[in-house]
Subunit: 328 residues, 2 copies
């Protein structure tokens, strides 16, 4: 792409927004050599930001809630980056327009930065790109990085694993209680927020959720991290109601993490996860190289599997042997 | 586990349901050596089933639609297996109860088999386990294997990639039109079904969807497979309305695949995908071995990354080198 990465990294150090935006594009487009260079240069500068995950199904009012929380962080003098991640979207064009509309809500406040990421172009998906985008935002010096993710499912839980504190937003009347239980988000949530709490069914949702949490607690082993019981808060984000309590809960959770050593453990687990994902991604790329061009090895192997000469596992073994030869 | 896999494979050949259920448990629990043995034994017998994917958001009436379609297949003398896959659920206990309730709807018809799979215990996720469960059901001799998947997102699209024909179910009033566009399901759908078509908003959803399809068609390149335009059908599955038309569309799509060579190409792509996923899964397992026990390599690498001695990419390279040494 002819991008001068060194100049962008320098620009980031000087607080240039344009450099930040272009570095995030490098992360999003996933040109691997550039990505390596960017992360190699920025990693020494990262590690200070607090990372907050805000997740929930479409329609629970996640963006409004995120913006309201960000506004409070700003009022406390903290700079905020919002990374809006949509695992269900292969597009980012529309999302960029949305970014501009949302930025207007923050009155061109230089202390708030909003960026959307879609799954376009990622071999490893957003669970691969998100932690790297967080490194860029962290190195850019933001005090708080908020990862806002759409949807309920595996990818959402994976992305939430990048956060220090994970907030799950729900809303009455969406079958969210059941969804929460199914998606395994009960285990990852540090704070629950029932948004649109003025709608009917908020009480029912809260008691449903509380029941599931107690059930989960009763069946959980003794090796669970003690001392933090995820609060269930109610908000009406469009009117700013309850947001102070949400920010208090986030701050209390930060203090809890700092006090008990759990924060250190979480960050360590996150780095482990990242290193592993990068190694897997590298393996995927090796496979892709072997599966390209005239001598497409995967094509040959698949044909042999279809002729029942090989079973799929034996074919996978051959792919691995070739892959080791190609990189060893 | 002390399971006699050879006996189970023989039992499957004799049409024993108990053997089938236990082989699917082997696939679901992901004990790899057993899985290899099972697939190695069953692969030569598979390859005859027609595989249908039925996907859609929670609440669109997917299970009812699936059961109604299965009943029609049965009426045409075809045996049917339904694999209900929920990428958002780490549990399968509740799902098993659900299976029993659904089986009752088929009056203990021996020609219908229903099984739920959740994401519990899969290193590689359901996109890894699903194609292998399909091999088992295919080898068991079912004419039609229906993969019913919950949710809208990447994993759903991956799972749909296992099918010959992919049916996307929507319902009015759920913001599904927009969701469909975002999730990239427009490209994977061979048949659209608007269920609950007696509810208000069905017409609006249909025209929205049609508009998006036309837009997608207009912007698509000339390399698109010609000749198949995904029909948009309306059903009220709880009353059995419109199901005949759905089955007709599925049969027409099967004929289209057979006639144009596209079916062969799809199956080839599926085998490629499976071989690649198995090789990746094997790599993940090697990483897990290196990250276990006292000499946890990932732990060491993560600590060095946290001390900023290594950047994450350099750490991933070290993991790959160790992994090659461990398996080469």
């Amino acid at each position: 792409m002819g991008v001068d990465l060194g100049a962008l990294v320098d620009g980031l150090g000087r607080g240039e927004r344009r450099a930040l935006a272009r570095l995030l594009t490098v992360v999003e487009d996933g040109a691997v050599d550039q990505l390596r260079e960017v992360i190699g240069a920025l990693h020494p500068r990262a590690g200070r930001a607090r990372v907050l995950g805000i997740s929930g199904s479409p329609g629970v009012g996640k963006s409004t809630l995120t913006d309201a929380v960000a506004t409070r962080f700003r009022a406390a003098g903290r700079s905020v980056a919002i990374l809006a991640v949509d695992p269900s979207s292969p597009f980012s064009g529309g999302a960029l327009l949305g970014d501009r509309i949302r930025m207007q809500g923050h009155h061109a406040d230089h202390g708030v930065f909003i960026r959307s990421m879609a799954s376009r172009g990622h071999l490893g998906g957003l669970s691969f790109a998100t932690p790297q985008a967080v490194v860029v935002l962290d190195a850019a010096g933001f005090d708080d990085v908020i990862i806002e993710t759409v949807g309920v499912g595996q990818s959402e839980v994976e992305i939430a694993a990048t956060a220090d504190t994970t907030l799950i937003a729900l809303a009455p009347g969406m079958g969210d209680g059941v969804q929460a239980a199914k998606a395994g988000i009960l285990e990852v949530a540090d704070v629950f927020v029932i948004n649109k709490a003025d709608a009917s069914g908020a009480g029912k949702l809260e008691s449903e959720l509380r029941g599931m949490l107690e059930l989960g607690h009763a069946t959980a082993g003794a090796d669970d991290a003690p001392g933090w019981w995820p609060p269930i808060l109610r908000t009406v984000a469009v009117r700013g109601e309850g947001i102070g309590e949400v920010v208090d809960a986030i701050d209390r959770h930060t203090a809890h993490l700092d006090a008990g050593g759990e924060g250190v453990a979480r960050r360590h687990a996150r780095v482990r996860h990242l290193v592993r994902e990068l190694a897997l991604e590298s393996t995927r790329r090796t496979f892709s190289r072997l599966a390209a061009g005239e001598d497409d090895l995967l094509d040959t192997l698949a044909s042999r599997v279809e002729r029942r000469e090989l079973d799929p596992y034996a074919a996978a073994d051959e792919l691995l042997v070739a892959s080791r030869a190609a990189t060893g």
